[in-house]
Symmetry: C2
Subunit: 637 residues, 2 copies
């Protein structure tokens, strides 16, 4: 019976967390499955994924160089952990299912490929031949394919489903760009026009197509139009037509197609998840059911034991509450319909309304209930208290904006800090502390953390200052940022602002999923970029004005827009720099200058790297992000 309960609890738990892993039902497999789902295992696997991904920081081209031996040993360790996790999974799931699941095949192939790459690279390195560590671009496979990354996989699936529709729009769009390129070549090619840099204007169809693609991203507007426009007023009509059709209409159509598929896909996923959840709950019910009268039910005792296995830390009142809901008629058993609701019931966060008294009241009731104390409490609860502190924040804002070298102002900082600390203490005196720091009290947490951090940092800074007679720049920066973040509190005072911010905070977790998705794509592009471009462009201190520094250490950049705009630090010489370049490419502006610079120091084909990044990140992922924000706001408003 205990084994039946464990199996049923595994089904319920899977339903509760939307896990969809088929597992064997032998007692040993179930125990292994519990171990597989244990949080320590999950944390461990995420730790190894993080280590594996962050190896790129230490490998050539490195931000913090480590010898190849060290990084390769770390990588082999990670691979072992991944393999161990996979073996564990293989023991849990039926063999047939295991070998049919693409995720497992992917992980295994990646492990093997990485090992091969490590061996080849290592042996070549031993004889001093430098080769390419291509398998590093495969590392995100581990992040995507472990069962824990359901959310990221779901978004990838959504993108994959969108691809056919997007593809046709993209082809039509490219066709339109080509037609316009041909037109531009014929209209402007023979005019002998020149760009601002004195280069020939629109004479080569490939260059024209690239420029017009850039115009779709608006990055070279209006410069690309100026030579033709200067030549003849009427030619601006060509560019206006192009911008309306390609920049406005096509880009909106991309968003429309992505959004439409996103919604369709979301609906399907939710329907499928609901179906699977119900299915698992029925399995659990069938294991535990007994016949009472004409219907099958689960007895109260069994139901309680099940709930305690699924949620070991559930409190007794919480369990009683759930039972009261599930067994409305108090018949001593739970019927099928109510049993199926259990997974959802467990997911509901029960806020235990705090009827507990304030600790101070229990500790010294006389003092806490004295008239002076009650007056303080009434004062703190009053609306004027909030207003007074809003005014204090505004005055504080003005003080921050003023020059802080004035000693009077830096003393005022201490005053404000004490005022904020007093506010928190007064509130903790008035409100029950456990309620004040409840799970949903975002702003109380925010306030207290900001103030405590500011206090610690300010004290630390003062100590360092008086001891070593110098300011630590990092600590000063942190103190400053904390000081300004305090001003955010003003948002809470305005109802409409709070509504918007709450919506944004609520979609926070899903934005993190996007973070994962973006990380995967960025990582792959960063590795490719580092292999292709590292060392080609170097950064010199901005005060250097040697000829070498002015062309980022590469004579090919002479007279280029890249060097003129001093973009030398936008290079692929380590992971951090690469990610920042990719972020700049995502923002799109000036991406053609960056692409042009890297094409000059390597080959014109390098522009393909930047074009594909634009298609993947801006046309697909950013549009999915926008679609997601739109959907979230439609639900909230």
């Amino acid at each position: 019976a205990q084994e039946d309960l464990l199996l049923a609890a595994a089904y319920v738990s899977d339903a509760q967390y939307n896990r969809n892993v088929p597992f064997e039902t032998s007692p040993r497999a179930i125990r292994l499955y519990y171990f597989y789902n244990h949080w320590t295992m999950q944390v461990a696997i995420y730790f190894f994924i993080c280590v594996d991904l962050s190896l790129a920081l230490f490998e050539e081209p490195a931000l913090f160089p480590l010898p190849f031996l060290a990084t390769s040993i770390a990588e082999v360790l990670c691979l072992t952990a991944f393999f161990g996790r996979l073996v564990h999974f293989a023991k849990v799931t039926p063999q047939m299912v295991f070998w049919k699941d693409m995720k497992n095949i992917c992980i295994m192939v990646t492990i093997v490929l990485t090992l091969i790459d490590l061996i080849i690279y290592g042996s070549l390195e031993a004889v001093n031949i430098h080769s390419v560590r291509w398998s590093r671009a495969l590392r995100p496979v581990f992040l995507i394919n472990f069962p824990e990354s359901r959310q990221i996989r779901r978004t990838f699936r959504s993108i994959r489903n969108t691809l056919p529709d997007i593809l046709y729009v993209f082809l039509l769009f490219m066709f339109s760009v080509l037609i316009f390129s041909l037109m531009a070549l014929k209209l402007f090619g023979d005019r002998g026009l020149q760009t601002v840099e004195g280069l020939p204007y629109f004479t080569n169809i490939l260059e024209i197509a690239f420029e017009l693609y850039v115009l779709v991203t608006t990055a070279n507007s209006p410069d690309v139009m100026m030579p033709a426009y200067n030549f003849n007023w009427w030619y601006s009509l060509y560019f206006i037509t192009y911008i309306i059709i390609n920049t406005y209409i096509f880009m909106s159509v991309f968003l429309a197609v992505v959004y439409n598929n996103y919604r369709k896909h979301l609906k399907n996923e939710i329907r499928k998840l609901a179906y699977l959840k119900r299915h698992k709950m029925i399995e659990a019910f069938n294991i535990l059911k007994v016949k009472v009268g004409t219907e099958f039910v689960v007895t109260e005792a069994r139901w309680k034991r099940l709930a305690r296995i699924v949620m070991p830390h559930i409190s007794s009142p919480h369990l009683e509450l759930l039972l009261r809901i599930s067994d409305e008629g108090q018949k001593g058993h739970v019927d099928k319909m109510n049993f199926l609701r259990l997974a959802d019931l467990l997911n509901i966060q029960v806020v235990t309304i705090n009827i507990k008294r304030h600790p101070l009241e229990e500790w010294m009731p006389r003092v806490y209930q004295s008239s002076a104390s009650l007056l303080v409490q009434r004062m703190v609860r009053h609306r004027i208290f909030v207003w007074v502190y809003d005014v204090i924040i505004l005055i504080n804002a003005i003080f921050i904006a003023l020059d802080e070298k004035n000693p009077f102002i830096s003393y005022a900082e201490w005053l404000f800090l004490s005022l904020y600390i007093i506010e928190i203490l007064l509130k903790l005196y008035t409100y029950e502390p456990r309620a004040y720091f409840g799970k949903k009290q975002f702003w109380n947490w925010f306030d207290t953390l900001i103030i405590m951090a500011a206090l610690v940092a300010t004290v630390a800074n003062t100590t360092i200052q008086s001891a070593r007679k110098y300011n630590s720049q990092q600590i000063l920066d942190i103190v400053l940022i904390l000081r300004i973040l305090r001003l955010l509190r003003i948002i809470v005072s305005i109802q409409r602002f709070r509504l918007i911010v709450t919506t944004l905070i609520n979609i926070g977790p899903t934005i993190l999923t996007f973070g994962g998705l973006v990380l995967v794509v960025y990582y792959v592009f960063a590795i490719i970029g580092m292999e292709a471009f590292h060392g080609k462009i170097r950064f010199f201190d901005p005060n250097f004005t040697t000829p070498d520094a002015l062309v980022c250490g590469n004579p090919a950049l002479k007279d280029s827009a890249f060097a003129r705009d001093r973009y030398c630090k936008n290079n692929f010489n380590d992971l951090a720099s690469s990610l920042i370049v990719l972020m700049e490419l995502t923002v799109v502006n000036q991406w053609h200058i960056l692409a042009g610079g890297f094409a000059l120091v390597t080959h014109q084909a390098a522009k393909l790297y930047f074009l594909s990044f634009h298609v993947v990140v801006v046309i697909l992922i950013v549009n999915i992000f926008i679609a997601f924000i739109l959907e979230a706001f439609f639900v909230a408003y």
Copy 2:
């Protein structure tokens, strides 16, 4: 009875065209109302609106200068026409309604203000004092407020309804920008950093706020970040945070709020329109009803006379068809339910399926039905015929891309032109011409017009060339564009492409409404811009390299990015140039350079003009445009 019929027909007609003008029901008022709605009157009023708006082309600063007397006489004429239209409307509508309608008040006030402005400006001009023609910015009032511009007014209403929601998000967004500005001032202000141009970096809070606002539009990314990033790697995190919160999240929230309101508003409008339509049809029914048995109906004869008044050019079969639908039981009368459907029935375009024979078949049946003729027809109808022409188009595309100075290629052009003409002739021989040029046959029309135009232009060009021994550049350009547009035909061959293009063509009319809306906003901003900035920046031929030409004729622009990028032609010196500058501002890229240039030649406050343009056009109107495209594609897909 005739008067009753006229009144009822007026109601039906209003329901058919969604007109919502309350009119008096006296016979004279009804006759005036018919006259008011006559298409000649509508064309006339649009003609005068166009003349009034285009006056800005001829007034100082003018594209085609005309004396003040000429333009003012034209303007007074237009005002008279508008006033006449208003008087006409006053005689049609009940007095109470007329004076309560804001639209009429708006028009009258604008007429009076314009007259006052004309008189003041004229008298000052007479004594040689130059003043401002401020009333020109009011001209779009006429375009918006006449009952014919329902669509534009609806979009404006939609924007107005969105404003409260947008305002709160905007305030929160501005608050966020200010907080970040304060942070930037504190973090970077004292570092002694410099921009690429050698100017101090982030030392003034107002300048920082402007730069950060520009960063939201992405126009100064990554330049705004580079000095801090060059100084210290970690400061890039500040900018990344800023971009994620303000550029990505807030801008998406703006789109979400606009889109959400747009949808809500659209639903309400449609519901209201349906209600009003039904109401008018009931009015019409009540006028015409007679009692037959227990129910009120409209007799067949009356119904027919009504339909003939509403649609004078309706064909007899069409009328019979409508009657058959409305009087299903053939009882000789139309009941209430069927009568109410009339307005919608009249709006349905009846495509008379063509069972007519080909004219050639009627004219010479023997020849047309001969086996050779039938073979030709079968050939044309065959799929291979389409494929052959697809291949011809592709070959044509290659020939166009090649250099046309080769005489062989220019002869080939004639060959292609003849092949296309033969194709059209063959199709006209095979298909019934009236069916071929049916209303819905967009691509047949497109094909034929392009080919005919190319034929005319090519012949014209050849004639000019052989007669005067020189090429007309304009005609050559047109021939070229037509030649390339022919390639668009390839779209028709691919089903998925056709679907996308059809959706785009179907939303064409509504995009025109947007054109009207954009025109109104652009016009107002252009007039203000011309008054504020005309003559400050001048354009010199790009080959000029005199010091004056290099600073666009204004020494204040020395060393500015505006002059360095050679943006001299982006000025407000006439209406056309102004509209093009506004278009560039809508595309957003480099708008801060444009704003900076105009601020340098006038005052820093000029940036407010560009900021407000961004808020109105990009945040509001472009987002409504995107919302509209999204909605259209959701309905189509």
